[in-house]
């Protein structure tokens, strides 16, 4: 949309285009600045570290969710996949001997769920909302049955290190999230698959006309989302240190909200990884600020709901003009 009218006619056009593309990053910077002024401890090393640790699993999920939304879909199964991956960490052994097995199994299940979602959406034309809702419910039931209600057992130390440890001062989970974001940012914005995804999501008919196989493109988006959700579940299990059957509850909606705040259009085909990540960071920063300012926790929920509507309204306005 902005690409079409950016020939350097006027300065104001340039400013507008910068705002349109990077407005969310600027908003994040502004939020951090204002937060720091309101409550100096907000930008203290301890609190920043805390926020980054909370942010890491959400970042992983948001990257996958963004791929799915770009394909005109939605993935409501990510929370269920996260919980399943988290439960896997406790199923085998309390030491690190089964780590490889756990990671492989979690990723396979995550990608398998993504594959089922993708097949339902592409081959059976099921709406993404229902397809992913149904797989989420089924997976939840299987998980509950598998663990007879409450998982027991300990998380191997390896995952605790991943969830809370540091590497050169930076939390390891954050490093993982950043690496994943960069890799998938490159896939989306620099590689052929990303271009196909943006075309198919933006205009499926056009995609077909230029010889893109839309089904395969969409399918991969769901597989990626499932795999990254599994990774996020493993990270979150390590961060929390304990696992129950509802690890990751709320991440399905939070990840959609983060992507929408970051300017990823629910109508598909438009959005960036950087925007979605900024959206996730805004979400975490707002929550953190509400608590730091000393407001009751209910205000977190109320502000979250308001931000969802405001952000969506902000982007709708801009596409109309």
């Amino acid at each position: 949309m902005t690409d079409a009218d950016t020939p350097p006619r006027m300065r104001s056009d340039l400013v507008k285009s910068v705002l349109a593309r990077h407005g969310v990053v600027l908003f994040l910077a502004g939020l951090l600045l204002i937060g720091g002024l309101l409550q100096p401890s907000f930008l203290g090393a301890g609190n920043l570290n805390n926020m980054l640790l909370q942010l890491a699993p959400l970042l992983l999920v948001v990257v996958g969710q963004t791929f799915v939304i770009l394909s005109r879909g939605l993935d409501l199964s990510v929370a269920s996949v996260m919980a399943t991956a988290a439960v896997f960490t406790t199923l085998f052994s309390a030491d690190d001997s089964a780590v490889v097995k756990i990671i492989t199994l979690a990723l396979l299940v995550g990608m398998g769920v993504g594959l089922v979602n993708g097949l339902l959406v592409t081959k059976r034309s099921v709406s993404p909302f229902l397809a992913t809702l149904a797989t989420a419910i089924m997976l939840q039931g299987i998980r509950f049955a598998l663990t007879s209600g409450a998982p027991s057992g300990n998380i191997p130390p390896f995952f605790k290190t991943i969830g809370t440890g540091r590497m050169a001062g930076v939390p390891i989970s954050v490093v993982i999230a950043i690496v994943v974001a960069v890799v998938f940012g490159i896939i989306l914005h620099k590689m052929a698959y990303g271009r196909r995804l943006l075309i198919v999501g933006g205009n499926p008919m056009a995609g077909r006309l230029v010889g893109i196989n839309p089904d395969r493109t969409i399918l991969w988006a769901y597989v990626i989302s499932g795999g990254l959700a599994a990774l996020a579940g493993l990270t979150l299990a390590g961060f929390a240190g304990v696992v129950d059957n509802n690890v990751g509850r709320g991440f399905e909606l939070d990840s959609i909200v983060a992507a929408v705040i970051g300017g990823v259009a629910l109508s598909g085909g438009r959005g960036t990884i950087a925007g979605a990540l900024s959206g996730a960071a805004i979400l975490v920063a707002v929550f953190n600020l509400v608590l730091l300012v000393g407001a009751p926790i209910q205000f977190q929920i109320i502000i979250k709901g308001t931000v969802i509507i405001l952000a969506a309204a902000f982007y709708v306005r801009r596409t109309i003009h």
Partner: protein, 333 residues
């Protein structure tokens, strides 16, 4: 996205004698599928245990289905317009908590509190409709946002069950007429009224037309704002009634009452053949869908499988239903 597809009312078929029959069957296929499934489950249940095919168990199933039925009825309206209402769970929580807290077991209070709470819920729903109309945002995002805000407000009012509903109202949940609890009878009457409204009034047909093709509806002069306000207002009202009903049944309102109902309310709608892409389906299918879920859960209880498998079964039903009723008109909402 939609302009390339032919309108579904005029399938380009070669005229044959049984075409009309086929069309009638095609339209009602979801209803038949659900009825057959319910019958199959009833037979299975009857073969399994003597206690299944009893009036007592029938009453039980109907009673368990009432709350879900009420919410799903409102949800059907939203889905018919190609929308969705994700705020219903929070509206239920709000209604039950507020009613229970304000009434505090005093029947005299109930006389004005309940109408006021229901009015509030209808207004909340209408606000959803207004936001969707004014802001032009997808209903999913709007109602997710308002639902989140409402859950926060409910928790601000009470963090745990508060007050209580008067004993004098319990007859609504537990008294039965011909084996049907009064609450369930009211629910079914509401379904009937909604079916008449949708099928036989101008405003009802406008809802279908709008859901089928919003642009065409605009061109023939259907008032978009009125449709959205009606539909989401009704959905809010139904969620409110469900919340108050459950508060009466449990004796007290709970701030997390509706959490599981938001997504559950969609299952009977889609199982009953209403397409998420809008314009097709109806409330009768939803009612059957509600009973299907009710009978299934009841059956699984008798089987004494863990309640966790109820979730698996529910997921399987959704997948089966939506895979059978493939929407040939449009795909991917």
């Amino acid at each position: 996205m939609t302009s390339l597809d032919p309108p579904h009312q005029t399938p380009p078929q070669t005229p044959r004698q049984n075409t009309r029959l086929k069309q009638a069957f095609g339209r009602n296929a979801p209803l038949l599928v659900v009825i057959v499934l319910i019958i199959a489950m009833v037979i299975a249940g009857a073969l399994m245990t003597d206690r299944f095919l009893t009036l007592r168990n029938f009453t039980n199933i109907v009673e368990q289905s009432t709350g879900l039925g009420l919410v799903s009825l409102g949800q059907t309206f939203a889905v018919l317009t190609a929308g969705i209402d994700l705020s219903v769970g929070s509206v239920m929580s709000l209604a039950s908590t507020l009613a229970s807290g304000l009434i505090d077991k005093d029947v005299a209070q109930a006389a004005w509190v309940i109408p006021m709470v229901l009015l509030l819920c209808a207004l909340i729903g209408a606000t959803n409709g207004l936001l969707i109309h004014q802001l032009g945002i997808h209903p999913l995002i709007v109602t997710l946002g308002t639902g989140t805000v409402l859950q926060g407000l409910t928790l601000l009012y009470a963090l745990s069950p508060v007050g209580g509903m008067p004993r004098a109202l319990e007859f609504v949940a537990y008294e039965t007429v011909l084996g049907v609890p009064i609450g369930a009878a009211i629910m079914m009457l509401l379904f009937l009224a909604a079916a008449v409204f949708l099928g036989h009034t101008r405003a009802g047909r406008d809802i279908y037309a709008f859901g089928d093709d919003a642009e065409a509806a605009r061109l023939v002069g259907i008032n978009r704002a009125r449709v959205l306000l009606t539909v989401y207002g009704f959905s809010g009202l139904m969620a409110g009634i469900a919340g108050v009903y459950l508060a009466i049944r449990f004796g007290v309102g709970q701030p997390y009452l509706g959490v599981n109902y938001t997504l559950s309310s969609i299952t009977p709608v889609v199982v009953g053949g209403t397409m998420l892409s809008g314009g097709r389906g109806g409330v009768l299918g939803t009612l059957l869908g509600v009973f299907l879920v009710g009978v299934l859960n009841n059956l699984l209880n008798f089987l004494q499988v863990s309640t966790h498998f109820q979730l698996v079964a529910q997921g399987a039903i959704i997948i089966a239903a939506v895979s059978i009723y493939v929407d040939t008109r449009r795909s991917r909402t």
